[in-house]
């Protein structure tokens, strides 16, 4: 459960007259569930990249519980993200050749020398929780809905303080999308994590606490 405070954030890309993102001030209470909406190109993905430290910030502050990502080196941002953020993306980014369990454990394995003793059982529990029965099934043989559920399990197994999802239901059919959306909300509630979901999906936005609407890099409402 982390709070986010953004201050005087401005992101510009070379060759573009207007900033891609311009947020003078924004505060997100710990544990709230936020919908990030807006037309394509409004800056949703940029906001998410900034929020989890995947992109450098040159001016302004992005503070999670007082830790300013803008002031961190790339390596420290990587470490912060590994420790605190769970990511779910539109096209899953699962690794073919690994099983569901292998995918869930991969970030944990890569970010520390040894897996904590209970991590494996936590991963199995989490897979069961998202409704994947066969933990040893290779991910490339799964349906898209199953893949996104594996991705959700991967995002949550490290008990992140913030869950960030970028269009998690956009590439799924209605039924699977509904299931994944429910899982995200329930799990965020259970773990008391702050949840930020970038989405066009009206059924999903309706179930979230607060809507942040982005337009041309500005936050409205």
């Amino acid at each position: 459960m982390l709070s986010l405070a953004v201050h005087k954030l401005e992101i510009r890309y070379p060759g573009l007259p207007a900033p891609a993102l311009d947020i003078p001030a924004l505060f997100i209470e710990p544990g709230t569930h936020i919908a990030l909406t807006g037309p394509s190109g409004a800056g949703k993905t940029t906001f998410i990249n900034i929020a989890v430290g995947m992109e450098r910030v040159r001016s302004g502050k992005v503070e999670w519980d007082g830790e300013n990502l803008a002031a961190m080196s790339e390596g420290r941002r990587d470490r912060w993200r590994a420790r605190n953020a769970g990511l779910v993306m539109q096209d899953f980014h699962l690794f073919p050749g690994l099983s569901a369990l292998g995918n869930v454990l991969l970030p944990q394995r890569l970010s520390r020398f040894r897996l904590p003793g209970d991590m494996r059982s936590r991963a199995l529990d989490m897979l069961a929780r998202v409704g994947i029965d066969r933990a040893d099934q290779p991910v490339e043989t799964m349906s898209r809905g199953q893949m996104q559920r594996v991705a959700v399990a991967r995002a949550l197994v490290g008990r992140p303080g913030v869950i960030i999802a970028d269009e998690p239901t956009a590439s799924l059919d209605a039924g699977s999308g509904e299931a994944v959306a429910s899982l995200l909300l329930d799990l965020a509630r259970e773990t008391k994590a702050t949840l930020i979901v970038a989405t066009h999906d009206a059924r999903l936005t309706g179930r979230l606490d607060r809507i942040l609407q982005l337009e041309n890099g500005w936050v409205r409402g």
């Binding site: 989890v52 995947m54 690794f95």
Partner: protein, 410 residues
């Protein structure tokens, strides 16, 4: 991490196998050139080792060595009989062995010499040395049993020659292995060769008339070495000398280098030959290196393309919390492992190929070709591995330098 690398390699196994084969074959090419050249050099040097000093009639030094050590047939001029007689009596000489050639039986050259040659080449493993004109001693690789008989052909091995119908030899002993082309030779008394060739010049009708009687008493005649110590013989094309000491060797060479004789150290002549061979090897090495460079460039391209195609995947690894150093190690280890396996396989293939090649060359020439790895090969392998490690760092750096957001956008 190894989990992930393994999964990735298994997923791309066809490409991985093809790359490994390419690297292995390119490496094997270079290794074979190096090892084979060394085997040839060592093999011929060792073949020449039992021949300290060779004396012949004036002519080509190289031909004298090729004929006496490697038993390559050539019409050499003869040394007059006094030279052999003098050498046999010389106190500086431990053994002086005449070498007379010209006859064959199938692919085995028949060498006319004296029983001293048996001791000079390390003794017998079977039977006895020759006592009679019809006795013969087979080299270690001659495929004829002790006790069997044969008739010599006049002419080159493999050619249709003229059979010396009047002469029949019986194999009475077998030489120990020497690793020289003499392993394929059959040794007979030089007196028998002289006799055969003297008969050869008789009128054919006369020879035919005498044939039966000639055969009987010829084979049973005891070997009389007295004829070697006089001048009542036709002479020999070459004499192999075992001197008593190194200074004797130099003295003898000095003394017998003149208008009527030629004296050479086979080792020295071979060294000069290698000088010429060395250039050929350099050309071969250049060709091999060129091929390797091309393969290396192609492989680098493939790897770089592969890494660029995987930018999204690599970006995702970072996004999910893999530290940069880990991502760098993954890409580097994966590509390096591929090259290293290829290199090691290539060394093994090259070593095996050289073995097979040397085996066949050895069988064909009678020169045992030792395939040996030495310290320089270990250094070469190490240098290759280090080069591979450095080169595969480049694609890893591509992966290192991009932010995860950039990688995911691409």
């Amino acid at each position: 991490m190894f989990h992930f690398i393994l999964a990735d390699l298994v997923r791309n196994r066809i490409g991985v196998v093809v790359l490994i084969i390419l690297v292995a074959l390119a490496t094997a090419l270079g290794v074979t050139v190096t090892l084979q050249e060394r085997a040839l050099r060592l093999g011929s040097a060792r073949a020449a080792a039992p021949f300290d000093l060779v004396i012949g009639a004036p002519g080509s030094e190289t031909q004298l060595v090729l004929s006496s050590v490697f038993l390559q047939p050539a019409p050499l001029p003869l040394v007059s009989p006094e030279v052999l007689a003098g050498l046999r009596a010389d106190p500086r000489v431990e053994a002086a062995v005449p070498v007379g050639f010209g006859d064959f039986v199938e692919s085995n050259p028949i060498i006319g010499t004296t029983a001293d040659a048996v001791a000079m080449f390390g003794g017998l493993t079977e039977g006895t040395a020759f006592d009679h004109l019809g006795d013969a001693v087979a080299g270690a690789e001659v495929k004829r049993a002790v006790g069997s008989t044969f008739r010599p052909f006049h002419g080159n091995a493999g050619d249709v020659g003229e059979v010396h119908a009047e002469v029949q030899y019986r194999i009475v002993g077998r030489l120990a292995r020497t690793g020289t082309p003499w392993d394929r030779a059959i040794l007979v008394p030089i007196q028998a060769v002289w006799d055969t060739h003297a008969a050869h010049h008789h009128d054919a009708d006369e020879a035919a008339a005498h044939q039966h009687g000639h055969e009987d008493d010829f084979a049973a005649q005891p070997v009389d070495n007295a004829v070697l110590d006089g001048d009542a013989n036709p002479g020999v094309p070459a004499i192999v000398i075992k001197p008593k000491s190194i200074s004797d060797a130099y003295n003898l060479r000095q003394q017998y280098r003149g208008d009527t004789t030629l004296a050479v150290f086979p080792g020295e002549v071979l060294t000069r030959l290698y000088g010429t061979l060395g250039d050929a090897r350099r050309v071969l090495s250049l060709v091999a290196t060129g091929a390797q460079a091309l393969v290396a460039a192609a492989i680098l391209m493939v790897i770089a393309t592969h890494v660029l195609q995987r930018r999204r995947q690599i970006g995702a690894l970072r996004a999910f919390g893999a530290p940069r150093a880990v991502v760098l190690s993954i890409v580097w280890l994966e590509t390096f492992a591929l090259l290293a396996v290829g290199l090691l396989t290539g060394f093994a293939i090259g070593y095996g190929a050289t073995h097979a090649l040397s085996q066949r060359l050895g069988e064909a020439s009678g020169v045992a070709m030792p395939v040996e790895l030495n310290v320089s090969d270990a250094w070469m392998l190490t240098a290759f591995l280090i080069a591979a490690a450095l080169v595969t760092f480049l694609p890893a750096l591509i992966a290192y330098r991009q932010t995860p957001a950039q990688a995911l956008r691409s």
